[in-house]
């Protein structure tokens, strides 16, 4: 395991109290694999990866749990040491994550010389190499970020992330802002690089089809917790948590023409309120009174689910394929 | 609504008036606008206007003080002479006004009523005749009698109400200059050429540093752009005569000046005078100096030479002026006024100007060569002007340099005086009390005060009712407590006035007019005697009198 996230707790202090953005989430990233971290926006997946990078917003703090990278528990000092050299990050919007007043090349050189051991000359050579690696022309090094198209910026961001040859890449919605065709290209770039450089990768996305296309493993998060995880094929073919089922219905399939899209009614809970039991209860067409008392994690062999009715998973799955099921948003509909 | 109320009030007033004035129709004296400078521009005068308005209201008049910016005021008072009632005004003292002619003649002579200084429109043939007569009287005693008569006419008619002759305050640093080496010029004070020539430095500081509130507009012997300009030109360029400390003209660049007859003046020039460039001053130069303004190239000086018919050289160093008509003011108004300029410099300049629309006033590079006791070294119009003593002059000054600093505010003036950045206050724009207290706190500073030739007054528009009536004018003038003016508006730095000839010109001032009695009660009596009535607290015209006005 290159990365283990264990019962991670991230709290934000807000005006209306403490929001538990990540509330005891655990997952692992095996070496050389791509793990998809999936969930609706606001479910804590971005917070989780940012916590790994050690760049929580001012009002956020790690309230519990731990992150272990290659056997070392990450604390402030290790984070500072490992950042970018071992764990790098591909942002959602490369536009806003590149400084608009410097050329892309000089920003590459900056990280290569300031964080790496490169001289300016070798940094320049390495930049060209990196651009080549992600399929950009070396000439574009002298351009400013705004002169790039969206896809090119994303490639540049990937080049930036690969600059110091990290072993783990955290990609936060790397293709969300792009149109579908460019999305494919970037995903392909990521896949080929991952294979060539034998990278491990966490891919944060709300788009389950991206996961299907690229990932080996998937971790489904809801309201700061992991509700289901396992190998992609397994989880997508036989989801065992109603949320995963709903999520799958809500997205078009990148590979096949999808059926009708069915959104999950309602919205994620307010994380600053005290919550107990399964947090999906209010939106779950299959919830039972016991669901709101506590939650359990079941399953083995890597495919785990946090649904109390895990035993009935197959029945529920069938019911979940019917769009009408999701229109009944009221709780305890099946009970 | 407002109109309705006013109409209602009118009806009531009319009713009251009708009962009181059973003899016939009568009309209320309309509301008077007393124009003034804004407080910011001239606080004393504004204060006086407020006090006067208070006193006039006691007569049953409606009075409103209306401050006007200078532009609007001149436009109204000077260029729209039939459109106003009453305004605060002032005449400033200048050395050449030491001769009473200017005030005696131009303020009240009917020929000036249309466009000139008689803007109040006072028309009195008797006055005209006497004013013309005094000009021709070469005998001082005779002329004095006429001057007295003129002052008495004005006292009787009160075409305007004189308020005060202000005292001007000046100061020197007596640690730097010998205090008794300054010369007081009557009606002007210690800021005069005599002081600048005679003042003695005590120590190493031989620069006299004087302030001015205003910028110097020009240093041009053929153009005066403002009062301060003349202080400077005075020192650079000599004149045939100068107004002495006693206010009388005395020969300066001349050994003698004498009347050969009523229209002939003989001048004998002082020998050995030199221009600042070293060339000698000749009779030719002098004649040129009086001919130069006669053309159209120095409009400001032209009026002073129009009386001259001819100038002849009568000897090596002597010349003779022939005048059109007898003119007693010739010495003051012409010989003591025209700057002597070097012909070798100015002749080509004026020739060059001939036929062009420009005049000598607009010359970009004016030659600063004169023959006076100081030479111009440097001039930065908004900051300072620096003159150096002309050691070769026959009346060479004792100071090395004369520096005038432009200091627009009184606050800074005192600050600089304290820090030694000034050592002579020649003009103080602030509250006199502050200067006096300043001198008390700084024993090195000596304050000198002098009553001014100029005066502050309330000008009545004699052209229109109610001010066309002498009794009314008299009453309004009597109603003004002059002592209150002195104490409450001028903080005691002024003396009461009732004449256009300042008491400092003691020879010409008629003491008989000084006993002008004031008081609201007396004023009311004058009005009553003239047939005015007060009804319901408002003043009404005598029977039969009606206001006929051009519109305001």
């Amino acid at each position: 395991m290159i990365l283990e996230v264990d019962k991670l707790q991230i709290h934000y202090s807000t005006r209306s109290g403490v929001a538990r953005a990540v509330d005891g989430a655990s997952f692992v990233v095996p070496e050389g694999r791509i793990v998809g971290l999936v969930g609706e926006s606001g479910c804590g997946k971005t917070t989780a990866v940012r916590a790994i990078m050690g760049v929580l917003a001012e009002n956020g703090r790690q309230a519990g749990g731990r992150v272990v990278f290659k056997g070392q528990t990450m604390d402030e000092a290790t984070t500072r040491r490992l950042r970018w050299r071992d764990i790098a990050y591909v942002p959602q919007s490369a536009m806003s994550s590149l400084d608009p007043v410097y050329t892309v090349g000089s920003q590459l050189v900056e990280v290569l010389t300031k964080r790496g051991t490169h001289s300016r000359a070798s940094a320049r050579a390495r930049s060209a190499e990196l651009f080549d690696l992600v399929g950009l022309s070396e000439r574009r090094l002298a351009d400013y970020p705004h002169q790039f198209s969206g896809g090119m910026r994303q490639r540049a961001a990937i080049a930036m992330a690969l600059a110091l040859e990290p072993s783990l890449l955290l990609a936060d919605e790397p293709v969300t802002a792009l149109d579908v065709i460019v999305q494919r290209q970037i995903l392909d770039v990521l896949r080929s690089l991952q294979q060539r450089l034998h990278l491990s990768m966490v891919l944060v996305t709300h788009d389950i089809s991206v996961v299907a296309y690229l990932c080996d493993e998937v971790v489904v998060m809801y309201a700061g917790q992991v509700v289901e995880s396992g190998p992609v094929r397994e989880v997508l073919a036989r989801p065992r948590h109603p949320y995963t089922m709903g999520l799958r219905n809500a997205f078009p399939d990148l590979l096949s023409d999808a059926l009708e899209l069915v959104p999950i009614a309602g919205s994620p809970p307010d994380l600053s309120e005290p919550l107990s039991g399964c947090r999906f209860v209010p939106r779950c067409p299959f919830a039972q009174p016991a669901c709101s008392i506590d939650s359990v994690v079941t399953g083995s062999d890597g495919h785990r689910s946090a649904c109390r009715r895990d035993a009935e998973a197959d029945t529920i799955r069938t019911a979940a394929l019917d769009p009408r099921t999701w229109q009944r948003s009221s709780s305890f509909a099946m009970s | 609504m407002k109109k309705l109320l006013a109409a209602a009030a009118g009806v009531v007033a009319l009713g009251l008036a009708a009962t009181a004035a059973a003899q016939g129709p009568t009309e209320k004296v309309r509301k008077l606008n007393l124009y003034s400078w804004p407080q910011a521009a001239f606080p004393q005068s504004y204060q006086a206007a407020q006090l006067i308005a208070q006193q006039w209201r006691q007569l049953g008049l409606e009075v409103e003080v209306k401050p006007l910016q200078r532009q609007q005021q001149t436009q109204l008072i000077w260029f729209s002479r039939d459109k106003w009632d009453v305004t605060m005004w002032r005449m400033v003292g200048r050395p050449e006004r030491s001769d009473p002619d200017e005030f005696l003649y131009s303020l009240y002579h009917s020929s000036y009523a249309e466009k000139g200084y008689n803007f109040i429109g006072y028309i009195n043939p008797e006055y005209d005749k006497l004013a013309e007569k005094q000009r021709t009287q070469l005998d001082r005693e005779e002329r004095r009698k006429t001057a007295f008569a003129l002052q008495e006419i004005i006292n009787r008619d009160q075409p305007q109400a004189f308020l005060v002759h202000p005292k001007s305050l000046m100061a020197i640093n007596k640690a730097i200059f010998k205090e008794d080496s300054v010369v007081n010029q009557s009606g002007i004070g210690i800021r005069n050429i005599w002081t600048f020539l005679k003042i003695e430095p005590l120590g190493a500081q031989k620069d006299l540093i004087i302030n001015s509130n205003e910028t110097i507009n020009a240093t041009n012997p053929l153009y005066i752009g403002g009062a301060v300009d003349s202080w400077v030109t005075d020192l650079i360029w000599d004149r045939i005569m100068r107004i002495g400390p006693d206010g009388m003209p005395q020969p300066w660049a001349a050994e003698s000046v004498s009347w050969a007859d009523d229209t002939t003046v003989d001048v004998k020039l002082r020998a050995g005078m030199k221009w600042h460039d070293g060339k000698p001053v000749t009779v030719d130069d002098v004649i040129f100096s009086f001919q130069a303004p006669a053309g159209d190239k120095a409009p400001m000086y032209k009026p002073f030479v129009t009386d001259i018919v001819a100038i002849e050289q009568t000897g090596d160093m002597s010349l003779r002026f022939k005048l059109k008509s007898p003119n007693t003011t010739f010495l003051t108004a012409t010989l003591a006024k025209i700057n002597l300029i070097p012909k070798h410099i100015w002749e080509p300049v004026l020739k060059d100007l001939a036929g062009k629309p420009e005049t000598a006033e607009q010359l970009k590079e004016v030659s600063k060569i004169g023959s006076g006791p100081f030479k111009l070294v440097r001039w930065a119009p908004t900051e300072e002007i620096l003159l150096e003593k002309n050691a070769d002059h026959w009346a060479a000054p004792k100071i090395d340099r004369w520096i005038m600093r432009i200091v627009p505010n009184a606050e800074a003036t005192l600050g600089m005086m304290k820090r030694g950045e000034l050592n002579f206050i020649g003009m103080f724009g602030g509250d006199p009390e502050v200067l006096v207290k300043f001198a008390k706190d700084n024993p090195d500073i000596a304050v000198k005060s002098e009553v001014d030739i100029g005066f502050e007054y309330v000008a009545f528009n004699n052209r229109r009712p109610p001010f066309d009536d002498t009794a009314f004018r008299r009453a309004l003038s009597v109603a003004i407590d002059r002592r209150l003016m002195v104490s409450a508006a001028w903080s005691d730095y002024a003396i009461p006035a009732n004449s256009h000839v300042s008491p400092v010109l003691s020879f010409w001032h008629d003491p008989a007019v000084d006993s002008f009695k004031t008081g609201v009660a007396d004023a009311k009596k004058i009005l009553q005697d003239a047939g005015y009535r007060v009804v319901g607290g408002k003043l009404y015209y005598p029977v039969g009198k009606q206001e006929k006005l051009a519109t305001e």
């Binding site: - | 910016q69 602030g430 502050v434 409450a488």
Partner: protein, 303 residues
Amino acid sequence: MAERAEPVPARASWPLLPVLKRMAAMPLKDPFAFAGLVIYLLFVLVAVFADQLAPVDPLEILFTKAGKLAANVPPGVEFPLGTTNLGRDIYAQLVHGTRSALAVGLSAAIIVATVGTIVGLVAGYFGGTADAVLMRIADMALSLPFLPFVIVLTGFLGASTSNIVLAVALLLWPNSARVIRSQVLTLRERAYVEAARVTGASAWRILFVHIAPNILPLSFVYAAIAIGWAIITEASVSFLGFGDSTSVSWGMMLQDAFASQALSRGQYAWFVPPGICIVLVVVAGFFISRGYEEVFMPRLRGR
């Protein structure tokens, strides 16, 4: 945490009331804005009860019992701040000066806000020629040097308070017009405006019923700023001697104090209080406008 809300919830119903409600509630959320409001209220009270607080006419020439001018009386029981060199009660001037300050400030603010809002609404909503013309006029007004223009205008047209207000308003409306215009540009693309358009509401109706209420807080911000500007400008112009002699204002007092050498006399009671009053009123406006900016202008939120 990165979420930035829209300035006003977009809903199809008439937004005026909720906007007003939020505007009224704002000072309670922001302590500075609250302080600003309190300062304003105090000055308004002083202005209203000026005659009771200072029964002496501020322009009256005062005399001592002995009949002498009551000049330069030091602060004491009878005259809390003393008298001027020409015998006016400084305290009375200070109190009555509040009236002219508020009159100048409020009238300028009302004109600026009204003109700025209408121009901004029209230019932003209709676009095209109207927009181009109005914005060019605004540019022109903005390229006039502010204080010099006011000085020239009052110096030559006459030093009345209304001329000063006029000049200030003439120069300040473009700022608010520009910002409001850009706000209108975004608002007019909103769904609820679109909806109103589809239902056939007239342009003016959309403009004044649906868009204008959302602009109100912005107009208010600029009005609060204009109050300060107008008061400072009036003070500066009066200080330079182009003020209205017939009314008492703080600027006038400062001019009088400066010209009458209160500085070298050390008459601090004459020139310090009016300055402090100006600072307080103006800063109150800044506080309030800042408060509204933070609540209603999303770009500035969280600063």
